[in-house]
Structures are given as C-alpha cells and as structure tokens.
C-alpha cells in the first residue's frame, strides 16, 4: 500500500512538473514569430536573424528542461530512494 502511494505520488509529480513546458513553448513561439517578421521585412538578414533566434530559443528552452530533469528524477530515481527507506 505504501509503495503504491509512493509510486502514485512520484508519477503525479512527474506529470505536474512537465507543466513547465508551457512557458518555453509560448516564449519560443513568440521568438520564432518575431524572427519571421524580421526576415519578411529584411530578407537579406536571414542568416544572422536565424542564428540569433536559435540561440534565444535554446536559452528559453532551459526552464522547460529543468522541469524535464525534475520529472526524470521523479520517475527514475525517487521511487527507488523512497521505497528503499520504507
């Protein structure tokens, strides 16, 4: 019973921590939209704009990846740790 509770808590927590994916999704979409606007206005700047956009996207993605790492820890590491302590 306790094991089931621990596993349930870990699974729910892992799912909840991936809510962090919303933020980078919105942010990256906004950045890409603005980059498209910029390329549409000045097509000759395509190269530098694309590079800068990819950089910005990668940095914005970091917060989402933190959520991913927390959920991976909850799935792969936390159950073993807590069940071992019971």
């Amino acid at each position: 019973m306790e094991k089931a509770l621990v596993l349930m808590g870990c699974a729910i927590g892992a799912g909840l921590s991936m809510i962090a994916g919303i933020g980078p999704g919105i942010g990256e979409g906004y950045a890409v939209g603005k980059a498209c606007e910029a390329i549409g206005r000045q097509p000759e700047c395509r190269g530098p704009v694309t590079t800068t956009m990819l950089m910005g996207c990668a940095v914005a993605e970091t917060t989402g990846l933190y959520g991913l790492i927390v959920s991976m820890l909850l799935i792969f590491v936390a159950p073993g740790m807590f069940i071992g302590r019971l």
Partner: protein
C-alpha cells in the same frame, strides 16, 4: 509491454573502485574517430592543394576561425582549436546515437565536465581582467545584500549549460524508447488476426521513428553542440571585456 530505459551501463570494473561505463568507452570511440578523421584529412599536405582532402580540411579550419572571429573578436583567435574540438566532440558524440550507440552526451557527467571547464575559463578571464579584488568586488554589486544571489548566479552558468545539453539528448533517447515500445504494442494489437509468426513483427515501427530520429539525432544534437560552443564564446568574451 516492457519499456527498458536505463542510464549508462557498467561495462567493467577496474581496481580501486573505478567503474568504466558505456559513456567512457563510447567517448573513447568518438575521440578515436575524430583523431583518425583529422589524420586522414591532413596527412600528406602540400602548399598547393592536390586532392579533395586538403581542400576539405582547409575549409573546415577556415570556417572554425571565421566562427570564432565573428563571435569573440580578433584577440581571441587562440580559442579556435578549443572551440573546434568542443564542437566536433559534442556533435560527434551526439551523432553516435545514429549508430545505436549510447550517446555520451546523454550522461550528465560528460556535459557537466565540459561545463566545468568553461566555468573555470570564465572565472580565470574575469580574475585576469579585473584582478582578484575587482572580481570579489564585482560579486557585491549593486548592493552588498545581493552577494549570495551573485554567487548563485556564477554557479548557475555551468549548471544550466550542462543541463541544457544533457536534457536535450536524454529526452530524445527517452522519447524514442517510449515510441518504439508504444508502436510495438500497437502493431501487436492491430495485427493480432495474422498468424503468430507475422504478428510478432512490429510492422508499425517502420516509418515514424525515422522522422523523429532526424529531428532528435541529426538536427537537435548538432544544434545543441553549436549552442554550447556559442554560449562558451559569449561567456568567455564577455568575461574578458572590461566594463
């Protein structure tokens, strides 16, 4: 339906508790491949390029030095070998997942090691330009109350760099494993009416994983290597600039 997602497997153990995992062995293979590639491209060089090999090598070197010059300026040209080595190591080790190997970059130890090297370089350049007192004073700005946050900020740079690369590669591996398992289950369900020998072949695994693999293995891994190098250059050149 069993999904098998593991970290790096332990291959063998050395005395004194040293453990050799898949990460290290695959990294050695990647290093060997890069070294052999460099040897192959540069051996028997002439002043007038004779074959295609030397043209390719010159093109790669020129591209790397232009890349560093654009992003760091003329004064940092000595960083070209480091950046080129970092980029080739990162992209080749991520691309090794194309051959079904365990990519060394999906182990946090690898990426954290690179990030610590970058952190040491950043701190070295900050101390070199501002002096050790200037560096300590820079941590207390704008107010003395902010010191703990500034110190945290210093350490968050390598951690975010390491987690970014690790998270991208590892999430690709996890998603591919989940997709393979799900497709195997689905094709078992759909093809149940066929005789046993045919229905055990997961036919649905044919097309879809390839598309995902192009994104995760080819595009994302090279992009992450590029971003790691780009951030290294930006951080180091901003640490060395006197402002």
């Amino acid at each position: 339906m069993n999904v098998d997602i593991t970290g790096a497997k332990i291959l063998f153990r050395l005395p004194f508790g040293i453990v050799i995992t898949e990460t290290q062995v695959n990294m050695w293979i990647v290093m060997l491949v890069i070294a052999l590639l460099c040897k192959f491209l540069t051996h028997n060089m002439k002043i007038k390029p004779a074959g295609k090999r030397q043209v390719i090598a010159e093109y790669l070197v020129k591209m790397a030095s232009n890349f560093v010059k654009e992003n760091m300026g003329e004064g940092f040209m000595k960083f070209t070998p480091f950046i080129a080595a970092l980029f080739s190591l990162a992209s080749f080790s991520s691309l090794s997942s194309l051959f079904g190997m365990y990519p060394p970059t999906s182990d946090l130890n690898t990426t954290l090691g690179w990030a610590i090297i970058v952190f040491v370089m950043i701190t070295y350049y900050k101390i070199k330009t501002n002096g050790i007192l200037g560096y300590a004073k820079g941590l207390t700005e704008p107010f003395a109350v902010m010191t703990p946050f500034n110190i945290l900020g210093e350490f968050s740079t390598p951690i975010s760099m390491a987690f970014r690369m690790f998270g991208n590669t590892a999430s690709g591996a996890v998603i591919s494993a989940l997709l393979y398992a799900g497709l195997a289950w689905l094709s078992n369900l759909v093809l149940q009416w066929l005789p046993e020998a045919l229905s055990s072949i997961p036919l649905l695994q044919l097309g879809l994983p390839a598309i995902l693999s192009i994104y995760f293995d080819l595009f994302s891994s090279v992009l992450q290597a590029f971003i790691f190098c780009m951030l290294t250059m930006l951080y180091v050149s901003s640490a060395a600039s006197n402002d």
